[in-house]
Every structure is written in structure tokens, then in C-alpha cells.
């Protein structure tokens, strides 16, 4: 019945199909890298991918892999297997799932293609450092660490020099492995495409300012994949141009992600990958759209620091000042800005056992939001990939109670 429901058909985002095709092709190419004699680098989601693209190295993202494992509901099994390997059950579930996937060749795509090198940028957490050390020992490949000093209250001149020097070391590391020199003209072009892609992604997210929002945070979780994996390519730029055009057409046509949108919420932290559909329907049933989130905007949040004409020099700052590498007061400021920008009625925070740097501080951010904007907020205890930490009945009850509060506040 739902298949040919015209109302539902109309609401479907048409670009989804294209996105799936691009991602399938991307993973196929990565898996066949050994045939095409291309080098494969595993890189963290917040890592500087642009030099890899410029060097013709295929970037592969274990975190994207983790999200795929979560979305395919294979997290429980793979995380459980990592525990038999000796990893504690309270470690990051992306890391646990990926670590157990490597020897098992498990997961939705039978494991990631073997890396020739590992690129780890610790701007998102200290976990990636440990995770990449483990994979460096397992695959016996060189590991490059881009160490981005944490910006509690400032990005010092000294930190800036340190990161800038490491970008040179990074390029030398790649040149050494690839036995060829960096083509700086190409690098410039990749930098330009990266900035253009990020700008377009921000524009796509901005369309949710419209009421009703043409896309929800759940849609953004899906369409995010390209700005993560193919940032710096023409493919990402072309795709987001199309997606942006589709979103604008939806605004003109009055098509919202939630047809009955009455309430608008902001999501904080990573998605609960194995329950995005359930959560999306749960909120939609309460005439509610989660219009924006702090997670997907992290891939364009540092745009203000990046100069597209001087990419290599400015990326040191851009990559150091991303959302998770800053103090919680600055994070709270950004949350408040998003509340105003997207005109939301409440805040949903995913207290994510897997992500300590994202989750510790949420209680203070919640308090700051309450003080500054008086908005109701909901804290959901769960995990992004490991289903064992999700209690459906408890979460459903809490969402119901929270939506009562949101409705009451808006009604008065």
C-alpha cells in the first residue's frame, strides 16, 4: 500500500537513487584498487582528505563503514565479536565494529579494502588515535597522525605553526609512499572543489530554515556521505548542486519532509544509525520534523577559517577548529545560533555512549540552552551502532512526554 501512496511518493527525495549509485561505484572502485594499482588510504572522518585526492589516492572512511554497519543493523554482532577479541564493551562502537570486521571480512560490504596507509587526524577524538594504532599494527602499514591541538578557548599561534608544519610532513609522507611529487596546481583545484562542496552542503542544510523544511536531519544523515567521502571532487560538487536544486524545488512546491510539520527540533550528536527510520516516523507521527543537527553541519562548520585561494595554509586552522575540537561553551554558542537560525521548538540530545568528546558536556550545553532560550530539551541515552544500548519502550515514553512539553509550550 505504502509503495504506491502518491502522497508518500511525492515526499521522497529523488536524489537518493543517484546518491546510492555514486556510493556503490565509489566502494566498488575502492575494493578494486588492487586491480587498478591505485593506493588506498584509510582516513578519519574529520581528516584532511584533499591531499589524498590530489595524489590520486583512494580515501576510505572506517567511520562511514561504522555508520553502514549500524544502519544495516550488524552492530550488535560485530561489536560483540570485538569483545571476544578483548575490547571492552564501553569503547566506541565504530571502532569496535571496524576492528572486528578487519580479520572477519564481515559487515555489509565484506570488509573495507586493505589500506596502503592510514591517515589519522585527532580533531574529532582521541579514540581514532588508538583505533588507527590498532589497524597500523594489524595491517602493518605506515600511519600518519595529524595532531590538531584542542582549542578549548583559542587556537594559538604555536598550535597553528605546529599544524601547518604537519601538513608539509603529511604531503612528504604521501610523496614518499606514492613515489611521486605532489602536483600543487592539482592540489589548488582540489582545495577549491572542497570549499565549493562544503558551501553547497551548507546551502542544502540551510534550506531547512524554510517551513515546512524540505529535508530533515534524518535526510541529512544520509546525504552527508559524499561530503565526508568525496570532499574535494567534482562528483560531490555536482551531486550537491542537484540536491540543492531539488530542495529549492520542494520549497517552491511546498513539499516538506514531514507533511504535517507543526513542531521543529534540533538534533545533537551522531545518529542512532539502526533506528533512524523508527525515530523519524516516531517524531513525524507527532507532527514534528527534526530540521537540523549539530553533526552533519560539522563538515562545513569551519568554512569561515578556510581561504579557497590559499587552501593548504588555511586548512591548518579549518581542520583544527571543527565542532568537536572546541570548548563546550563555544559548542553551546553554536547550538544557540542553530536554534535561532532554524527556529526550532526544542532540542533532542543523543547521549551517545560511544562518543565521549561529543557527549560529555551535553548536560552543560543543555543548561546553557535552557538559560539562553528557555527551550525544552530531551536527553536520549543510546549508542550510535551498538543496538544493545537502545531501549525502545523507554525511549518512546520519553519522546511522548517530551513532545507534550513542546506542544504545551508552543500552544501557550
Amino acid at each position: 500500500m505504502a509503495e504506491n501512496d502518491p502522497e508518500k511518493e511525492k515526499r521522497k527525495i529523488k536524489s537518493v537513487k543517484k546518491m546510492k549509485a555514486i556510493m556503490t561505484k565509489y566502494y566498488r572502485q575502492a575494493k578494486l584498487a588492487w586491480l587498478t594499482r591505485k593506493k588506498v588510504a584509510w582516513i578519519t572522518s574529520g581528516g584532511p582528505v584533499e591531499p589524498l585526492i590530489a595524489m590520486d589516492i583512494i580515501p576510505v572512511y572506517p567511520e562511514n563503514h561504522g555508520a553502514m554497519i549500524g544502519a544495516s543493523k550488524m552492530g550488535r554482532d560485530l561489536c560483540g565479536k570485538s569483545e571476544t577479541m578483548g575490547y571492552a564493551s564501553d569503547l566506541c562502537s565504530y571502532a569496535r565494529a571496524d576492528i572486528s570486521c578487519a580479520p572477519l571480512k564481515g559487515g555489509p560490504i565484506g570488509g573495507l579494502p586493505k589500506p596502503n596507509m592510514l591517515i589519522c587526524c585527532n580533531n574529532i577524538c582521541g579514540t581514532v588515535l588508538k583505533w588507527y594504532e590498532i589497524q597500523a599494527r594489524y595491517f602493518r602499514v605506515p600511519l600518519f597522525i595529524l595532531d590538531t591541538p584542542f582549542c578549548h578557548t583559542q587556537f594559538t599561534k604555536e598550535a597553528s605553526q605546529y599544524v601547518r608544519l604537519q601538513i608539509n610532513e603529511y604531503i612528504a609522507f604521501l610523496e614518499n609512499i606514492c613515489k611521486k611529487k605532489m602536483d600543487y596546481d592539482r592540489m589548488k583545484e582540489v582545495g577549491r572543489l572542497s570549499v565549493e562542496g562544503q558551501r553547497l552542503w551548507q546551502n542544502v542544510l540551510d534550506t531547512a530554515c524554510h517551513k515546512p523544511a524540505p529535508l530533515s536531519a534524518f535526510d541529512a544523515f544520509f546525504h552527508l556521505a559524499l561530503i565526508v567521502t568525496l570532499r574535494g571532487t567534482q562528483i560531490a560538487v555536482d551531486y550537491y548542486k542537484e540536491l540543492l536544486a531539488e530542495m529549492r524545488a520542494r520549497i517552491t512546491g511546498g513539499i516538506g519532509a514531514v507533511s504535517t510539520e507543526k513542531y521543529r527540533l534540533l538534533w545533537d550528536n551522531l545518529p542512532i544509525w539502526y533506528r533512524t527510520k523508527w525515530l523519524s516516523e516516531k517524531f513525524a507521527a507527532a507532527d514534528t520534523c527534526l530540521v537540523a543537527d549539530t553533526y552533519t553541519s560539522a563538515w562545513c562548520g569551519a568554512l569561515q577559517y578556510i581561504d579557497e585561494n590559499n587552501f593548504l595554509n588555511s586548512m591548518a586552522e579549518g581542520y583544527s577548529r571543527i565542532y568537536l575540537n572546541i570548548g563546550i561553551d563555544e559548542m553551546a554558542r553554536q547550538v544557540v545560533n542553530m536554534i535561532d537560525k532554524y527556529d526550532v521548538d526544542g532540542l533532542v540530545m543523543h547521549s551517545n555512549r560511544s562518543c565521549k568528546p561529543y557527549s560529555f558536556g551535553q548536560l552543560d550545553i543543555q543548561r546553557i540552552v535552557r538559560e539562553k532560550r528557555g527551550l525544552p530539551s530531551l536527553m536520549l541515552e543510546a549508542d550510535m551502532v551498538d543496538e544493545r544500548y537502545f531501549s525502545e519502550s523507554q525511549i518512546a515514553t520519553r519522546i511522548d512526554a517530551f513532545m507534550e512539553m513542546v506542544k504545551e509550550r508552543k500552544g501557550s
Partner: protein, 373 residues
Amino acid sequence: MENMEMMNAVLADPFAYARKLQKDTGRKIIGYMCSYAPEEIIFAAGAHPLRLFSSGRNILAADGHLQSYCCSLVRGVLENALTGNYDFLDGMIFPHTCDSVQRLSDIWRLNIPHGFHCDVVLPVKLDTVSARQYMQDVLRLFCADLEKTLQVKISVSGLRQSIALFNEIRTALQKLYALKNNYPEMISGKDLYTILKAAAVMERNDYLKNLQALIKEFSGTTVRIDKPVSRRLLLTGGVCSHPDVYTMIEEAGGTVVDDDLCTGARYFSGIIADTSDPIAALADRYCARAICPAKHQASNTRAENILQKVKAGNVAGVIFLLLKFCDPHAFDYPYLKAALDKAGIPNILIEIEDQLLAQGQTKTRIEAFLENL
């Protein structure tokens, strides 16, 4: 053993000791939680570095800021801070280590009104030239911050004097560990624990005098047993705040002859060179000393270090003390275990909480482990 009694008395209430020191000498008391805190600089600034341990209270106030899946050390220290137990602190510094401490620093800055707050954003990798340079830069920034906040001048000669004192302390602790290694029955594990903990609490000149006197006393004791009967063990992990663990091991017929702990050998490993650029020398020690798993040297460094200790100390078994929710240590455990297994060294993992030790269970497991050695 009046020196030992004195250290025990200090540790019975380290905060009272620090308050008294502050009152009697007018020295500023600066708190820290980690062995990467540059004590030498704090001391050279005329202040007293005080390592904070949680005091075993129930977590109530900290629940409003940190979820239950944060480690008990971080939650415990925040609990103390929120309930005013640290209100005598003139300042608190946070060297960059793990994700949890990094967020604790933010929460502290936003919620603890007394004393100054300072982040020392050290590099995470320690094995490159640029990281070593940045380490120096950060230490120099820290000097400048302290000079401004405390209204003092940190001179090169003052720094060198401070470094000389800490070198003496470290050398003495190394000597103490060598004694323990050679004659395990001479020093009880509980005393060893107390001596190490006091190093981070007592006025450092007083501490050095006490420590040197203690070593003399120990060396002169007649309980030397040249053929030790106990099974020789090594402890590895982060912070150990449970003297009872040592006692349990000894009651079960074992003895700890060495460790790889933040509150143990990692604290005193490495001597700082006496050069005209003391900051560079300080940075060099941090880059070279045995690492905390939140830092990076070559990917295999920790296993090599532990295996080397096992060999040098003729160690029969290794006990991993894993603080629950400590990510860096939990990520390293499987590879360290594999390295020990491969070398044929029996090992056991014991999960601990900072505040409370599961006495019965821990005792049973330690006994079973030692029986099988």
C-alpha cells in the same frame, strides 16, 4: 620508621596537608591530575603542585555534568570540585591527555568559580621534530601564563634549580624501585604505594629528605631475603588508588616488583638533562619517557616497554589494572595481552573503579591467578 609514618599521616588527609602548607608558607597551591603536568615549572614559579585524587565519595553533584559512562576518576575529581573540597586551590591546570579529561577541563572552567584555570594543550604525538618543538612552545606558553597569573618571574636559574630537585626525587624513586626489585620483601607494596603517592602531594624539598631517609632505612634493614619466595609481578594501567591491591597480592603469595602506572614508574622514568635551555630539556623528557596510552610514540612502544620490564625484573606475571571507562588503556589491552601471551607471560585483567574496590571478587581473582603461576 617515622618517615613512613609521616607519609601515611600526610596521605590520610592530603587536602588538610595542602591547606596547612598554604597557610604556613603562603605558597599558592596548584592542582593537576596527570603525570604530564609540568610540576617543575609550577615549583619554579614558587607554587606548590598538588596532584588530585578523588576521595571516595558518592557521586551526586557530578551527575549533573557527566554521564555514568565517564570514568570514576574524572567524575570523582569533579565531585570534589563541585562540593567545595578543592576550594583552597589557587588554580588548576589541565595538560591535554584523554577525551574525558579534556571535557572535564571545559566543565571545570564553566562551573568552578575559585582559582584560576589553565589548559596546557600538549601535543598528542611525541615522536616527531615538529611535535617536540610544539611541546617546547606549549611549555613556554605555560610559563608565561603562570608568570602573569601569579605575578612572578620564572628565571632560567630558578627552573634549573627546580629541575635539579625533581631529578633528585626521580633518581631516588628509581633507586627505591631497584631496591624493591632486588629485595621485594624489604618494602611492602602498601608502603611503596604510599611513597609514590606522597611524591605528588608533599612539599618537594621535604619529600626528598623523607624519601632519602627512607631509602637509607630500608637499605639498612635486616629482612633482606636473597632468595625471594614470592612470585614477582608487574602492575600496568593508569592511576592506582588502591593500596589494598598490593596487600591482596602479598597475602596471596605475590609481590609487585615493578609497574607501568601513571602513579608509579611512568611518573619517575627519565631524567631531565641539565642544559642552558631547561624548557627544551623538559620537553625532551616528556617526548622520551614511558608513555601514557593517550599519547603516541611508535605504535608498539608500550608493549616493548612492558616486555623489557618483565625481562629485566624477572617478572612471573602481569596484572592489568583497568579503570572502567578508560578508553586509552582499554584500547591498548588486547595488544599488550597478545604480546605477553606470545612471550609466555601469564597475565590477568582486573577492572577497577577509582572510588571503591570490589574487595571479595578482586581478592579471589588475584588468588586464583597466583595459584596458577
